[in-house]
């Protein structure tokens, strides 16, 4: 059998590159994504002729003849995992069929898997890393591309559901399965043991395979967010928090992407202050010309800040990366500032056009739940402005507001929010009917004043025969208002106490400043003062020999950046 000349040349070059440990060059040579250069196509036809599915041993021996398993003078250990990878690489090229992307995805995943095994081998680790990154990027792109083409993956769902049998197994989607493979690469990068405990080399850069930590982590996060597996994302953040060198040592694109996902994860878990810290850092470090990325960050940064009582400034909303956001968030901020419950509720009503946008960004429920508190605070403040008693410091009479007045305004507002007149006339004016499919979650089912369903028609479960249709929402009562005010006091958003006997809210400590300032402190001041500034998942400082129990001792790095000379005045 004649030796295939192109395969021989190719392997000779690969062997040379491997000896040179030139990772970037290796990645550039190991091309796999069409369109391929003529030389690669020539190589593919040679492989098809000589190395069919039954000639795997011959192919492996061919690889070994160029790339010895053990190199003399190299203490790197075995290269067998890399040789297996090369065999799989040739097979991948041989079998590649762009017409069948699902199959291609499977093969690419298997190829990456083997590449990651080579990444784990000391001999090849750093050299193969660029190839691992490249394969991971392509796999991620292909997985997301396929996820958007249900027509191509439909048969997979059926295949998986038959594999699962009768047991209710959680279906691992194509996207998630890809993420799980890339996560193995991430773990190998993160668990690099070369160098000292900080993982930083003499040039101040992450040492060895650690340079791949955030590249692989960000790909995993992209996929986990795409398939909504936030718990898997949490593991990535947890691992990084424990083992990664500081984020600041990595390139800007990796820092910004990571902080974006971290911020979104914290946001989804209601850690709004921490989300705001991560997202603000992402926004500040994002390239000024990357408008789309800045805008993506800004949507969550603005939402977090509004929830924390900080509104976007007019200057911020004028930036090109904020185009269109003023229309989305402006009316919300106005409603919060005025204490306008009716506008607030109508603006975020599930049937409104805006709600759809907020929902698609996954910020609707947070805005609804968290900002309602701020609207109530503003309504209490407005009640005080309109009808409060200023008190009399001389006679020790505290400024107060009548809860009865607040109740009257609350009822007025809630009625307005429910008013079918305004809502329907608006919808008619817009020339639209409600085309949105009914929400499947019962907590979103808002009783509407429609005709009751015919009772004689259709089956009614005996258990539900006596069920009463849900009442329309009950308007607030004095108890509602008292509990809302008590809750605001508890959260430090109102400063004072409730007098139950007189049904009044009294502001305490208003001797030195105006009752408005004392009784209704700024929301941001209150919330930021008690927020935890540490952001789990974000490594901001070098690892301090925590494996020694975290105590001071020999070899311990002490951060003195915040230390002052003895006797210096406090800042």
């Amino acid at each position: 059998m004649m030796s295939p000349p192109t395969v021989d040349k190719f392997l000779a070059e690969i062997a040379h590159i491997v000896r040179e440990k030139n990772g970037l060059k290796l990645q550039q040579y190991l091309r796999y994504e069409p369109p391929l250069e003529p030389l690669y196509n020539q190589m593919i036809s040679e492989i098809r002729q000589v190395y069919g599915a039954n000639s795997q041993n011959a192919l492996e021996n061919k690889c070994k003849s160029f790339i010895p398993e053990y190199e003399e003078g190299d203490e790197g250990g075995s290269r067998s995992s890399f040789i297996t990878f090369m065999v799989k690489y040739f097979n991948f090229l041989r079998d590649l069929d762009i017409g069948n992307l699902v199959e291609t995805h499977d093969q690419l995943k298997a190829l990456l898997n083997q590449c990651i095994l080579a990444l784990g081998a000391f001999s090849m680790g750093l050299t193969i890393l660029p190839t691992v990154i490249s394969l991971s990027q392509t796999l991620a792109r292909l997985a997301i591309g396929l996820d958007k083409r249900p027509d191509l993956t439909e048969h997979l769902n059926r295949r998986e559901s038959t594999v699962g049998g009768e047991e209710a197994v959680e279906r691992v989607t194509l996207v998630e399965s890809s993420a799980n493979v890339i996560r193995e690469a991430f773990k190998k990068c993160l668990s690099e043991r070369s160098g000292n405990i900080s993982g930083i080399d003499s040039n101040g850069k992450p040492e060895g395979r650690r340079i791949g930590i955030y590249l692989t982590a960000n790909l995993c996060l992209k996929l986990f967010f795409h398939c909504r597996k936030l718990r898997s994302a949490e593991q990535i953040f947890g691992n990084i928090y424990q083992q990664s060198p500081p984020l600041a040592l990595f390139p800007a694109s990796q820092r910004v992407t990571f902080l974006y996902y971290l911020g979104r994860y914290l946001f989804a878990n209601s850690h709004f202050y921490r989300a705001q810290l991560a997202l603000q850092a992402a926004y500040d470090q994002c390239h000024a010309q990357c408008i789309n990325q800045r805008r993506s960050i800004l949507i969550y940064l603005i939402t977090s800040n509004i929830i924390l009582g900080r509104f976007p400034s007019a200057q911020l909303l004028r930036r090109s990366d904020a185009a269109g956001l003023s229309e989305k968030f402006g009316p919300l901020c106005t409603a919060i500032a005025k204490g306008d419950i009716a506008s607030f509720r109508r603006y975020l009503d599930l049937d409104s056009e805006n709600a759809e946008w907020f929902l698609s960004k996954r910020i609707l429920l947070q805005l609804l739940n968290r900002c309602e508190v701020l609207v109530w605070r503003s309504l209490a403040r407005r009640t005080f402005l309109l009808s409060g008693s200023q008190g009399d410091a001389m006679n020790k009479k505290a400024p107060t507001l009548a809860l009865q007045d607040m109740l009257a305004l609350a009822i007025f507002s809630e009625k307005k929010a429910l008013s079918p007149n305004e809502a329907t006339s608006q919808a008619l004016a817009d020339g639209q009917t409600n085309t949105r499919p009914p929400h499947t979650n019962s907590i979103f089912l808002f009783p509407k004043a429609t005709t009751p369903p015919p009772i004689s028609n259709g089956y009614i479960d005996p258990d539900l025969a006596d069920a009463v249709d849900p009442e329309p929402p009950i308007l607030p009562t004095m108890e509602t208002i008292e509990s809302i005010v008590a809750s605001l006091i508890e959260q430090d958003l109102l400063h004072g106490f409730i007098s139950h006997s007189s049904h009044r809210f009294a502001i305490t400590g208003a001797k030195s400043a105006s009752p408005l300032q004392v009784g209704f402190p700024r929301v941001w001041d209150v919330l930021s003062a008690r927020a935890d500034k540490e952001v789990p998942g974000w490594v901001r400082e070098e690892k301090k020999a925590s494996s020694f129990g975290g105590r001071f001792g020999p070899g311990m790095v002490v951060n003195l950046s915040g230390a002052r000379p003895v006797g210096a005045a406090p800042a």
């Binding site: 070059e13 369109p35 250069e37 958007k148 083409r149 694109s253 390239h287 001041d525």
Partner: protein, 96 residues
């Protein structure tokens, strides 16, 4: 793959064709991407940049450090919304 030892030929070729990005795998996702608006966080075109590249130029559109309003309480009681509330309070009190 001209010379087995220098190996410079295919490298330049490979890099050049990388930048054209005319891959089939990539093309596959374009029509679907338009439907989902900007749900995905876009990849950056470059890996690293200097801190000053992140600064929005001052003077032009909104180049400022003042991004957030912490004082937004609305004390104006003369506008429409407050008037409505005032009327409502007067009405309720009149009923008593």
């Amino acid at each position: 793959m001209s010379g087995a030892t220098d190996g410079s030929g295919p490298t330049t070729k490979a890099t050049a064709s990388d930048s054209t990005d005319s891959s089939i795998l990539k093309d596959q996702q374009k029509p679907a991407a338009a439907l989902e608006e900007d749900d995905e966080f876009e990849d950056f075109p470059v890996d690293d940049w200097a801190p000053e590249d992140s600064e929005v130029p001052p003077g032009s559109e909104g180049g400022t450090t003042h991004l957030w309003e912490e004082s937004w309480d609305d004390d104006d009681t003369s506008e429409d919304f407050s008037k409505q509330l005032k009327d409502e309070l007067a009405k309720v009190k009149g009923q008593k």
